[in-house]
């Protein structure tokens, strides 16, 4: 039996935030299912998805919490920032208001997460370039001023979606390697699984990955 997709070295917790209707749930769906979900209903509170990715040869499980953008859920979704290793902050490039609200989302993210949380700015719906309301340059500048990573994506075509999630993970991983992220704390948003499990299995057999390449 193959080692299966369940062997991973880390779990990173992500949170996706941003105004209502910017396509947070669609981004998550595109990332986890590789499909575009047309007429996606409004998220109630929070929803959750997972996927295992590989960064620098390490298998990493992403546990992604997708929050509701509606104002009335703000109080609820605030509780989910806690312990996120990565925050994806999404706006809609065709609606300027969603971009204008970014600073309030950023304040929330900064206040409610730990200082090492990687915040990634995503301009969604870049397939609708004709209806563009926020230029790339402007958003890029905003990201640079606030020390955010930035990409324009399309949950519909899937463009850059993968990269946004992966780049965030790479940055988090890098923070771990630098030692700036302390893994021993339960709420760092990252959980490390030791490479040598404590179970006696591995003492007398090679790691299962090599053992069965079939």
């Amino acid at each position: 039996m193959a080692a299966g997709p369940y062997n991973y070295s880390y779990i990173f917790k992500y949170i996706i935030i941003g105004d209502m209707g910017v396509g947070k749930s669609c981004l998550l769906h595109q990332f986890t299912e590789k499909k575009f979900m047309a007429d996606c209903p409004h998220t109630i509170g929070v929803e959750f998805g997972t996927r295992i990715i590989e960064v620098a040869g390490q298998k990493i499980k992403l546990q992604i919490w997708d929050t509701a953008g509606q104002e009335r859920f703000r109080a609820v979704t605030r509780s989910y920032y806690r312990g996120a290793a990565g925050a994806l902050m999404v706006y809609d490039i065709t609606r300027r208001s969603t971009y204008n609200h970014l600073s309030s989302w950023l304040t929330d993210a900064r206040n409610l997460t730990n200082p090492n949380t990687v915040i990634f700015l995503i301009g969604n719906k870049c397939d609708l370039d004709a209806q563009r309301d926020v230029t790339y340059e402007e958003a890029k500048q905003f990201a640079e001023e606030n020390g955010l990573m930035f990409l324009e994506c399309s949950a519909k075509t899937g463009e850059n979606v993968e990269d946004a999630f992966l780049d965030t993970a790479k940055k988090i991983y890098q923070n771990i390697q630098d030692g700036s992220l302390d893994l021993n704390a339960a709420e760092s948003g990252v959980q490390h699984k030791p490479a040598t499990p404590r179970s006696p299995i591995s003492n007398d057999q090679p790691p299962s990955k090599e053992g069965c390449a079939c």
Binding site: G4, Y6, I44, A75, S79, N114, N184, K193, P200
Partner: protein, 636 residues
């Protein structure tokens, strides 16, 4: 001619001499080769053609013949001797062969037994060989290999190898194959093997169980490392439901304590270097505190479900055990959670906050119900605290309402709302506003609204009536209209208040009617038409013309009508002060309009009566100079 010749020949033949002659003549010497040969040979014998030699030819030839014969004889003598010797040899050989044949025969007779023995032995050997193959195949199929037994017994340190599962599967296979064996006539073997395999199976399962139990016991980290081997172990243990359940219980217990520890850590210790801060740091903010706890519980439940799904991914129909186990795992946090939330709820007085908490708990009840089963302790606990918050909220509301009734304020001079009314309405507004922002489904909302409204509005109305009871009719009507107006305008902003609004509207109507008739009566009274109007109304019971009645004479009527005329010139002068104190513009207009209508109606009746010749008013035109239409125009 031929015939003649023929006749000649026949005649010639009859003569022997002629015949001889003929014969000689006919002889062609050069054709007779034999003769030529003979003559040639003879020529050799005859060395010289002399008489003597011719005479001696015969004897010479005979002599020669004799010599040749002698030579021949001697030559044959040698041949014969040779042949004799050959005969001797052959005879000896024949004897020898006969001897050998005899000996062979004897030997054959002697070895015959041996050969048959050998053949039988050979056959036996072949048979045995076949048996051996069959036995080997049988053993291959029905016996475990040495290393398999070793694997099943396991190493001393209790480690488990992946081959263990192959060996275990083989034991199972053999066990089930034995059932086929039992159907043949190899029952003893079948039974024995079956027994042996059953023993092996049991010890194998026991070992597997012990290993699994140990593994599970170790899974107390924040996120357990569930190895593929453990998944396989769970799959294999499915055949032993009791062991499967025990292993799963062991896992559940380990995870349960891990989750409790994680929860307590999040509550009291927080993240690294204090970020995120411990949840309890926000215990002064009931909503944040409870919301953070619930979000933590939600996330933990979702994670635990994932881990369980990983653990049981190879097991079929593991859904019920998964749900049961998830319930068990999450049960641990119920107590610390419940204690804290109860503390929050009990110490909270604010109805609005309580209501927000109630909605928050309701929301999380719905959210977490998507992860854990409805029977789980976690959901029951959330349900319980939600129920408590619900009761606390309505308790707080009814307390407030009771306080209203305990101490009823006197209406202020301006007949406006009392402070307690505005306060209560503000509270209601706050409550309903937070409901507007709440996250619960519409059905729950509707139910809540109904309950909240009856909890607040009914006592509120009661309070208003009580405080109004000490006032006169006009003041009471105006005061009630004002109070209801305020309540109405508060409720109108919210959903599901239609029935309430209708009821309030009806109450307003009643008060408006009262106020209008009071206003109309007041006007009539002030211009001195009250008596005239009541007489006009009672004209059916009065005999004779009205002008004959006391106080209904032309002069009195005329002077009253003059006063009425001055009222028409300045209608506002006779408005009741209470009407001006009405808060709602619309109501004020309605009261004005309706009282005008009432006055016009009364005037119409009086006008008709006075103009009626039957009542014998002199110069009725001069007595009531204005037509009802004119009055209506002037007043509106």
């Amino acid at each position: 001619m031929a015939d003649k010749e023929h006749g000649d020949v026949s005649s010639q033949q009859n003569n022997p001499l002629s015949r001889k002659l003929n014969k000689i003549l006919e002889t062609r010497l050069d054709n007779d080769k034999d003769m030529l040969e003979a003559l040639k040979a003879l020529s050799n014998v005859l060395s010289d053609n002399s008489l003597r030699s011719r005479r001696n030819l015969r004897s010479d030839i005979e002599k020669r013949s004799l010599t040749i014969n002698e030579e021949f004889l001697s030559a044959f003598q040698a041949v014969k001797e040779q042949l004799d010797s050959v005969y001797g040899d052959v005879k000896a050989m024949s004897d020898c062969c006969a001897d050998m044949t005899n000996r062979l025969k004897a030997a054959k007779a002697q070895t015959h037994h041996l050969i048959s023995q050998t053949t039988s032995l050979h056959a036996e050997s072949q048979k045995l060989h076949m048996k051996q193959e069959v036995a080997a195949a049988f053993l291959e199929k029905f016996q475990l290999k040495l290393e398999e037994i070793k694997i099943l017994r396991g190493a001393r340190d209790g480690a488990l190898h992946e081959d263990f599962f192959k060996a275990l599967a083989r034991v199972k296979q053999i066990h089930s194959d034995c059932k086929i064996l039992l159907r043949t006539n190899q029952q003893t073997a079948g039974l024995e093997i079956m027994e042996a395999m059953a023993l092996q199976l049991e010890s194998g399962y026991e070992r597997l169980y012990r290993w699994t139990q140990n593994e599970c016991r170790l899974l107390t980290g924040d996120s357990p490392d569930i190895s593929p081997l453990l998944c396989q172990a769970m799959q294999a243990l499915q055949d032993r439901p009791v062991l499967f359940k025990y292993s799963l219980d062991e896992y559940g217990t380990a995870r349960r304590s891990a989750v409790v520890r994680g929860f307590i850590d999040a509550l009291t210790r927080g993240g690294p270097g204090g970020t995120p801060r411990p949840i309890e740091l926000h215990s002064h903010d009931p909503l944040r505190y409870t919301g953070d706890m619930l979000a933590w519980v939600h996330q933990a439940a979702a994670s635990e479900k994932e881990y369980l799904q990983t653990l049981l991914k190879l097991c079929e129909a593991a859904n019920t055990s998964l749900e049961e186990n998830l319930g068990h795992i999450t049960e641990g946090i119920c107590r610390p959670f419940k204690v804290r939330v109860e503390q929050v709820l009990v110490s909270e007085q604010e109805a609005v906050t309580l209501y927000k908490l109630d909605n928050l708990l309701k929301f999380y009840h719905n959210t977490i119900a998507q992860i854990v089963s409805a029977e789980s302790a976690l959901l029951t606990t959330i349900m319980e605290v939600q129920d408590l918050s619900h009761r606390m909220f309505f308790n707080s509301l009814s307390c407030h309402a009771n306080r209203l009734l305990d101490k009823v304020d006197l209406p202020p001079a301006d007949l406006g709302p009392t402070p307690s009314l505005t306060q209560t309405l503000q509270l209601l507004r706050d409550v309903l506003a937070c409901h507007d922002a709440s996250v619960v489904p519409v059905d729950d909302k509707k139910q809540d609204y109904k309950q909240i409204l009856s909890c607040v509005i009914d006592p509120l109305l009661q309070m208003c009536s009580m405080s109004a009871s000490r006032l006169n009719t006009v003041d009471m009507a105006a005061y009630m209209i004002n109070c209801i107006y305020l309540i109405q305008s508060t409720l109108a902003l919210y959903q599901f208040t239609d029935t309430r609004l209708e009821m309030l509207q009806a109450q307003t109507e009643a008060q408006v009617d009262t106020l209008c008739s009071e206003q109309a009566a007041y006007v009539l009274n002030r211009v001195g038409l009250t008596h005239i109007y009541s007489c006009v109304q009672q004209q059916a019971e009065i005999q004779g013309p009205l002008s004959q009645l006391q106080g209904m004479d032309t002069i009195t009527v005329k002077s009253a009508m003059n006063k009425f005329d001055s009222y028409l010139a300045n209608p506002d002068s006779l408005t009741l002060p209470q009407c001006n104190l009405l808060l709602g513009t619309l109501v004020r207009e309605t009261v004005k309009k309706r009282s005008v209508e009432l006055i016009c109606q009364a005037y119409q009746q009086m006008y008709d009566t006075i103009m009626d010749p039957k009542h014998e008013y002199k110069d009725p035109q001069a007595t009531v100079p204005r037509t009802p239409d004119q009055v209506l125009k002037l007043l509106s």
